[in-house]
Symmetry: C2
Subunit: 467 residues, 2 copies
């Protein structure tokens, strides 16, 4: 009996997809490299997921969990013929506790849908990746996703109290708990960001944030990238932590303005988008403070949006950045590195230099407040040799970020696209420690294999033998 | 050759303590139950710690890491004859990066000493447990310690970017990394709070916080516990997150005032100590807001300290609470449970009722902002049957907290005193998942055994066999 027939008996034929068209659709995420899909299944309950995992184990077929497929690092792409477990039907939002500010949510719920469902309660889910109108909570958990508002609120791991997980052996466990600081080993924090390598998350208890009583959004044009970066540093140094602090370079502003007509200052060398929240008195004080600091650094164009429509328009510019780039070229490669805030300008200049050297069109839009750079290469993959150039430049850009004390990934994950760069950050012994934990969860190595950890991470078996 | 002779050859006799007097001193932490110590060693380098671990493995002797011994849950107390690895000589503070706001710090550095060393740089280490003048950074990491200022800043795990760890096999690994959000499995978050069960932390990269430009501290007296709790809820609901929001009941205020004479209102039914920080304009706005909310709830006594001396005096009251209780009785048992903020009053009343039923003297001082209760029983352990009564009452109080959706421990850890209560929070499969990770780090089970996880947690081996 084949795995596919076993699965069809379990789920019925409609929820087991292996038609060549389906397979082609599911073989890619939003990154650039396709994978190899045996079949995609669409379970609807935790028990079905557990049964699927046990069936796949029996057939020794690798399993890859998938949400909306908006990932950029190949985390949901099977590197060898595998079974995709697609969680988009897990769309329940249950046990909303408006006082304790939590809810149990299915991994298939779309990020923005969750916040929209809670608008009436004055609550929202804080992580807001740019893909929030399409990406799922499960994907946010897998990559420990960030977003503009993670500067003040933290990435996804700070917003997940507990997760129900089908383990690689098909058991159901709950990691974390209802209380914010659950005793014992914090497996919740290991599962969040593990990109589906430790099991399949089937339900999460999310932390909901109170929507602030008042909000102001500032759009500030600067005469130079340096003056914008210095403003970011001084705002943080003043003791303020704005809800968001985003930066765009001149080229990105031009692309965005051409696309959404939000009135972004196209003559500025760099633009900051800042947001402050809180009681009205706090918002007024903080807005003035940020505007003052910006003016001290030569900003002559400070626009303050206080009504919801204007705020939405300013944010539309930021959130449409990647769409705007599609006007310039059919494909893009989006980087995701982190550098110390104080080295922003230096690394940006290096990145422009690398782009120029490879003859690539670079644009920059990023989370300046926490040093999370998103340089973007716009290109046409059909041009011969282009993809190789883009990837070679990518490697140099990542290295430039790590050399100043930065990191490989801010929020998009490692997947398989970046896993071979992990030794730039971790020693062999460090990677071995991670591989041991992976092995403790997944002794057979069938749960999203070849992701996150480079092959051969478990090379220090001698350490165990020594005992 | 005995372990002790091997250790003496490694460290010299002065750093291997096994005289009965030494053994008696090291057999207890600040909790109530003593353990069994074969010897205590005082290493000074990571390599020495690694060599000690390998020697102990060879002799199959359990190892227990220990800092200043201020723990309250028996985490640093060996339950069977074991080797104490005392880390108080790891007092280095190195690579202070005042721009990136980090430093590499030894686990033996005393919490308050770290912040004092950085005063000139305008930086501090945010977690501030009440024992901060005695407890070590290593102990803070082991228990994921909190403190009054963790309401806004988070517990220790939010302030440790990386940890160097001697594994139970004697290898040296670094978990986490220089960047705030390191890719891969977040072992850092598992090591923080694991109470020395996964290895011995020999160095940590701490996150330093900028000392705020301005601070105001409010001391507010309330006519009832209910009005104080309602103020806490309304302050948080207003969108403000004060730097601290502490509460004391009438009896605790009386004990404290009698001890430090800080001018606490002894006629109030409950007292709130609130602190706001930020630029002066924000601090002024937030102070007024909190005072307004308190007055709406009937507070007639709002005292605002703005100069450093008065602030220090108000905080001295709070931080001396446990010392103050020593005037009333020679021993105390300090609870550490968490309840949803909205159930504070209900659980406090239950706790008073349990205390009355067992004939115990109860006082309350706690982190109201995050629902972390610290009811305290003052007693005389020499009174026959008293310790049993205190422990039986403790169990009932923990259960009352868990029943309303709370947790077993906010910040003091599980140790062995609470490990048998873990099944109140976790299912057998959940505990098994934790035990598997423990096993991945420590296959021999010699690293601080019998702590955190109840015996028999690894009972689901059948799940592995099924594969």
């Amino acid at each position: 009996m084949s795995l596919t027939s076993d699965l069809e008996r379990l789920l019925g034929p409609g929820r087991v997809r292996h038609h060549p068209l389906d397979v082609a659709v599911f073989a890619k995420d939003a990154g650039v490299v396709p994978g190899s899909v045996l079949a995609a299944v669409l379970p609807e309950t935790t028990q079905e997921v557990a049964a699927i995992v046990r069936l796949a184990n029996r057939h020794e077929v690798p399993i890859v969990p998938r949400g909306a497929g908006t990932g950029l690092a190949g985390g949901a792409v099977p590197t060898e013929p595998g079974l995709l477990v697609v969680l988009t039907r897990f769309t329940s939002i249950e046990d909303v506790d408006t006082v304790g500010r939590t809810a149990w949510v299915g991994p298939g719920v779309i990020n923005l849908d969750l916040s929209r469902a809670l608008t009436g309660e004055g609550l929202h889910f804080a992580p807001d990746p740019s893909s929030q109108s399409a990406c799922t909570i499960g994907g946010n958990v897998g990559t420990n996703a960030g977003g503009p508002h993670c500067l003040a609120d933290g990435t996804t791991v700070a917003h997940i109290y507990a997760a129900e997980l089908v383990t690689p052996s098909g058991d159901v466990v709950v990691v974390g708990g209802e209380a914010p600081d659950t005793p014992g080993l914090d497996l919740r924090a290991v599962v969040v960001g593990s990109e589906g390598t430790l099991g399949i998350v089937t339900r999460v208890l999310v932390r909901l944030m109170q929507s602030p009583p008042d909000v102001a959004t500032l759009l500030i044009g600067f005469p130079s990238v340096e003056s914008a970066a210095a403003t970011v540093s001084d705002v943080i140094a003043s003791g303020l932590i704005p809800a968001a602090l985003e930066m765009m370079d001149k080229r990105m502003v031009a692309a965005v303005e051409n696309f959404v007509h939000a009135g972004y200052p196209t003559d500025a060398a760099a633009v900051l988008l800042a947001e402050v929240t809180g009681p009205t008195s706090t918002v007024l004080a903080d807005t003035e403070r940020i505007a003052d600091i910006a003016r001290e650094h030569g900003a002559d164009d400070v626009r303050i949006a206080t009504d919801d429509d204007e705020r939405a328009l300013l944010w539309k510019g930021r959130k449409s950045a990647f769409g705007a780039v599609a006007q310039a070229a059919p494909d893009y490669y989006l980087h995701d590195t982190v550098v110390p805030r104080t080295r922003l300008v230096e690394v940006m200049n290096q990145i422009y230099e690398i782009g120029d050297r490879y003859g690539l069109m670079m644009l920059n839009v990023f989370h300046a407040g926490d040093g999370n750079l998103h340089p973007l290469v716009a290109f046409d993959a059909k041009e011969p040799g282009m993809l190789e150039r883009v990837q070679a430049a990518a490697k140099e850009m990542v290295k430039a970020s790590i050399e100043v004390g930065g990191s490989l990934s801010g929020e998009h994950g490692i997947g398989f696209e970046k896993r071979d760069l992990m030794p730039l950050v971790f020693s062999a012994v460090d990677l071995d420690a991670q591989a041991r934990v992976k092995e403790a969860f997944d002794p057979l190595g069938l749960m999203n294999p070849d992701k996150v950890l480079p092959s051969g991470s478990r090379c220090f078996d001698a350490a165990g033998v020594r005992l």
